[in-house]
């Protein structure tokens, strides 16, 4: 079990298949847990999407992001989601569009807070990421590019959560060096990064580097798949999303 305030309160209850189902639960605690997990995976893509697609200032976008997730809980929007008809992220993105348009019309701008489902929303961090990214808002005009952008940010968010969970796991298992190797090779590496170089830098054998990275990747994959499975309502959806996330089957 991974305890992490960013993960919406910990591992998902084993009795429930997915956040979508659990979000429809009668049990308030279970619902809150589910939305926490959903929020953890989606808040950043939603925020960036609102900033770029709707061209909102940072403060407005923060407000809208928090408002959206509050609305998700209050109006039980997820009850309308059908996994056979669309992907969850497409559904949420469309909900975000509706939400922002409605907010514009109603010109309601209540400051919302405290409904973040136990997820710390690091808006400042998200702003920094946007600043360093080279995205031209004008290039996001078409529905396809919007979908692509949202998907990419969602994958980034999912992987970032998985990396964080991996880091915590390595700390728990006293494998900090393993995580460092993973960071250096798989997150920061380039064509010049090699197992031999890492072995030399860390004063270990190449086989140790190989084994450490294999373990880390295996665990990263497992964690990422678990998080992804929580966000999917059917096995079919999970398989499709796994292929899209990991690029399997891409030519």
């Amino acid at each position: 079990m991974r305890h992490n305030e960013h993960s919406g309160g910990g591992r998902f209850p084993a009795t429930r298949w997915s956040v979508v189902e659990a979000a429809r639960s009668e049990d308030v605690v279970e619902r809150a847990h589910a939305l926490g997990a959903l929020c953890a995976a989606y808040w950043k893509p939603v925020y960036k999407y609102i900033r770029l697609r709707w061209n909102r200032a940072a403060a407005d976008a923060q407000d809208l992001t928090q408002g959206f997730f509050a609305e998700l809980l209050e109006r039980e929007l997820l009850s309308r989601f059908d996994a056979n008809k669309s992907r969850l992220r497409t559904f949420l993105r469309v909900c975000v569009d509706s939400f922002v348009m409605n907010e514009e019309k109603a010109a309601r701008r209540q400051k919302r807070g405290g409904n973040s489902q136990h997820v710390a929303l690091d808006f400042a961090g998200a702003e920094e990421e946007l600043a360093t990214a080279t995205i031209d808002a004008a290039s996001l005009a078409s529905p396809e590019s919007l979908e692509e952008f949202f998907e990419k940010e969602w994958v980034r968010s999912l992987f970032a959560l998985a990396v964080e969970n991996l880091r915590q796991l390595c700390v728990e298992k006293q494998r900090e060096r393993t995580f460092q190797l993973f960071e250096v090779y798989d997150l920061e590496g380039d064509d010049n990064t090699s197992y031999q170089r890492l072995a030399a830098e860390y004063g270990i054998a190449v086989t140790d580097v190989t084994n450490a990275l294999a373990w880390a990747r295996r665990e990263f994959r497992k964690i990422a798949l678990e998080r992804l499975r929580e966000l999917c309502s059917t096995e079919d959806e999970f398989l499709r999303e796994a292929k899209a996330v990991f690029g399997w089957g891409a030519e």
């Binding site: 970032a160 798989d186 380039d190 373990w215 690029g247 399997w248």
Partner: protein, 339 residues
């Protein structure tokens, strides 16, 4: 929480895309094909110093029941030792947790590509007979293929024909020395498959729990999900569809050729809607095709007298020509010498 740059994202996805072969004796060379549920890579077996094809399931978290089913399936296939069936060399689990198996690396072309170089119908029929052989062999050992199609047949550089991708194979009542094992198929019947799917795609509608196959080649009973009642005649239906594809859709002139009535009848009998009207065994189908090639009457078609005469003429054409030459020569001699 750490921010992942685009570069990190790309590296993580790239790392996931290719299998982690560390800890195995294989060295990855590159991706060569993609199937419905797995990707096939070329790899170098460093111990035996030979190239192999390495298939990795793309089913995430393939542990437990799914992995053990694949292992059992690989064991069954390993016993189908036939020149026309790609042999399985090795099975195992990669360092990244994915299940894999290696098989013979086949250098050649897929059947649909190879047929572009084959013009004559007799040549196509001979290739078809070489497809029937391994299928009949598998049936004799209680294994159905269930996904015979041009994309799953390779023609090697020496003309050898191999039936590939036994991923949907089903063990029926086994005979011929293979001990009874639990059904090694990865998927079990649950829902019928939509006939609207693109014929060129494997109809992966859902994962675990749905009959898979290829619309356009799948038998009606397979499409209806009647897994328990499937027998060799389901593969015979597919072979009939394959034969039709080879003869008609891969015509070199581009236009739909008129098939000989006997061939048409063979295709129709093989791919009859009801299993009871099809050939009983693959050998029967192959035998009829052989009879056609030898200029003999086929079981699938009752000839008229005219058709029989034409067939006999075609079969003995040169002989008849010689006789006619003799008679003509006799006539000429008679007329010339009488003057």
């Amino acid at each position: 929480m750490r921010h992942l740059s685009d570069k990190a994202l790309t590296r993580l996805r790239a790392g996931e895309k290719f299998p982690d072969l560390s800890g195995t004796r294989y060295q990855l060379i590159g991706q060569i094909a993609r199937g419905g549920m797995g990707v096939v890579y070329a790899a170098e077996d460093e111990t035996l110093q030979r190239r192999v094809a390495l298939k990795v399931l793309e089913v995430p978290g393939a542990e437990g029941e799914l992995a053990s089913r694949l292992m059992r399936e690989a064991r069954v296939l390993a016993r189908l030792e036939h020149p026309g069936i790609v042999p399985v060399h090795d099975v195992g689990t990669l360092a990244d947790g994915r299940v894999f198996y290696t098989m013979k690396f086949v250098e050649g072309q897929r059947l649909d590509e190879y047929l572009d170089t084959v013009e004559s119908i007799p040549d196509k029929l001979r290739i078809f007979l070489r497809v029937c052989d391994p299928v009949a062999f598998a049936h004799a050992r209680g294994v159905l293929h269930r996904d015979i199609k041009p994309a799953n047949i390779m023609v090697g550089s020496f003309g050898e024909v191999l039936v590939m991708d036994w991923g949907l194979a089903k063990i029926v009542a086994p005979t011929g020395g293979i001990p009874q094992v639990a059904d090694a198929t990865l998927y079990e019947s649950a829902q019928p498959v939509s006939a609207e799917n693109d014929e060129t795609q494997v109809s992966v509608t859902t994962g675990h729990g749905t009959v898979l196959g290829t619309p356009g080649y799948m038998s009606p009973e397979q499409a209806r999900g009647e897994v328990e009642s499937l027998d060799g005649r389901s593969d015979i239906f597919t072979l009939g569809a394959l034969l039709r594809f080879m003869l008609i859709e891969r015509s070199p002139r581009g236009s739909v050729p008129r098939l000989d009535k006997s061939l048409e009848a063979i295709c129709a009998k093989a791919s009859a809607e009801q299993p009871v009207f099809r050939y009983a065994t693959v050998q029967d189908l192959a035998l009829d095709v052989s009879r056609y090639l030898d200029g003999l009457a086929v079981v699938a078609h009752r000839e008229s007298i005219f058709e029989k005469a034409m067939r006999l003429y075609r079969r003995y054409r040169f002989f008849i020509l010689l006789i006619a030459t003799y008679l003509l020569m006799r006539l000429i001699l008679l007329l010339v010498l009488k003057r």
